[in-house]
Subunit: 342 residues, 2 copies
């Protein structure tokens, strides 16, 4: 069977099943592992705190097109997607390792621009560039690993969602996917709008401080929106063996997306790469979070007992189920095999 | 300027110079960073111990040829090269993150074989597979990150070599490069010899326990032999601002290489990928190490005050300098841009 037939999540399950054979309670590493394959980042108990590690890869012509992205933007995004995974655990990013597989005929200046694109984000979040690796390759493949820790005794996990909790999301959705459609030339927009959309897709700001505040306020479960709202909600529901009901009209679509894209609902529900935080908690905690965070927090639905095969149900304002077409979000993203398993 | 013109070490210096701008003694990560860009692994001070992290990439048709390597062997090697970097710091490997960029038409079975190739090594050294990432790519790119710690208060560094110390190496050299020549069809050998050479190139055993013993015995400086004896000796001399004199006849060439390859000296000096440990210490410490280690330890020369431009001088049994041709080891390996910066 080909990878494309098995699909990304089948492949993750397969890898998980094989590595599970290794699990050995006699070995310290396994004893101390708190979160392995299947969350935004790996987590393990160290002396006085919880350690976190995550890795993410960007592949030329799969995740980015050098005709539409600058090397500075690429540097920013490559670090941002990793910081977002640490944010989704409520952690503090500390160190980054940068692996670059690059064609020999690439201009040195482009590598400088790439590293310069990383600097402002690294500085903002106090991340030290501790090392990495360089290799020759036919096309560009960027893998960054970020290591961090939790300031609290707890972290945000995918597997702790409880039936009866509310579902909330930070910020607005759809900007990144709309930015991608624009970069692909599908739509032409006014310069100011265009700049905001480009920025939304290529220079997302990971919600690192927000993730830490969620932990402080007693939130236990979160994920960052990288695959898309519905897909990521499905991930945490699957991990927690629950289901979710989303009131589509409450989903906070970015106003510029709503104003300019007829398919704005699709972009917000399935588009992904907004790097906002999707989290669940009881009503009281969510109210506290709204006061504690300096960004919009919108309740978009509720967690329910597990319903199969579809864990995520979309409903309209009257509570009527809105079917998603075909394979839904998997179909929407089926050109990309890409999935995070830590 | 193209990357190929600047060369790998020029590119490392460039990245190091840019990221140095970030260094901020007010930020905890930078305060606690003990070893950044330019060693086998990054190291930082955690609560009660030193943390280590390293990453290494294998690229299809650059580092391996799917026509001559099995997926199990690839899994082994991809983890081994990272464990070897932890070994070269004298550390204990703990967690691995596996990033795979794979073509969609790849057989699922190959991924299973790859992961199965990782298991025995991970089990041997108590490494938990904590997560990773999957992405689509036109050809295979494997990046593994290993995170570990030091059991001691100290680690092995590249920058602590002192003039007057002896240079020693574990095991025998040249087997991996000889194995590569064999796999490339340059030579045909008896089946038993062939198996050992293949194993030497594709399934090296990282010297993890040996590295830990070096630290316990008071060794301060080491590097693993990945780029080749002369290249790696040059790396630690450059980091420490010293030079080295190597008695070529004392270099422990693997007997099977000596017996079957007329260019055995070249293979042992420049071939690389043996993943033995190259270390320096005073005579007394080296004697202790010989007793403490369960593998051959050979003294191959001495560290001297810095001499430029060539830091590594090769001498024959009478002390006469043996010139290395052209650009020496850089020339020998100039088809590959690959370098570790942590």
């Amino acid at each position: 069977m080909k990878l494309s037939e098995l699909g990304e999540f089948g492949l993750i399950d397969l890898i998980h099943n094989i590595t599970d054979k290794l699990k050995n309670p006699q070995q310290t590493s396994w004893q101390q592992l708190l979160v392995g394959i299947g969350d935004d980042a790996a987590a393990w108990q160290s002396d006085n705190h919880i350690q976190l590690a995550t890795t993410d890869t960007l592949v030329q012509d799969v995740h980015f097109d050098l005709n539409t992205v600058t090397w500075e933007e690429l540097g920013w995004k490559a670090l941002a997607v990793n910081l977002s995974d640490i944010a989704a655990m409520g952690g503090v990013p500390q160190y980054a390792l940068i692996s670059l597989a690059l064609p020999r005929e690439l201009e040195v200046e482009n590598v400088s621009q790439f590293i310069n694109g990383i600097l402002p984000l690294a500085e903002e979040f106090g991340v030290a560039i501790a090392g990495g690796n360089l290799a020759t390759a036919p096309s560009v493949v960027i893998t960054i690993t970020v290591i961090g820790c939790s300031k609290s005794k707890t972290i945000l996990k995918r597997s702790t969602v409880m039936s009866g909790e509310q579902i909330a999301v930070t910020g607005h959705l759809g900007l990144s996917a709309a930015g991608l459609e624009m970069l692909q030339g599908k739509i032409s927009l006014a310069p100011e709008t265009s700049t905001i959309l480009r920025h939304g897709h290529l220079q997302p700001m990971p919600k690192v401080k927000e993730g830490q505040i969620l932990v402080e306020q007693g939130v236990k479960s979160a994920i960052d929106i990288s695959d898309g709202l519905v897909a990521d909600l499905d991930h945490i529901c699957k991990s927690s063996k629950v289901s979710a009901k989303v009131k589509v009209e409450q989903v906070p679509v970015h106003p510029l997306v709503k104003a300019n894209f007829p398919n704005y609902e699709q972009l917000a529900l399935y588009g992904g790469e907004d790097y906002e935080l999707l989290f669940t908690a009881n009503k009281r905690v969510i109210e506290q979070v709204k006061h504690a965070l300096n960004c919009p927090v919108t309740v978009i639905g509720d967690i329910t007992e597990e319903t199969l095969p579809n864990r995520v149900t979309l409903v309209d304002s009257k509570g009527n189920v809105i079917p998603y077409e075909g394979r839904g979000w998997e179909h929407f993203r089926n050109e990309i095999l890409e999935v995070k398993f830590a």
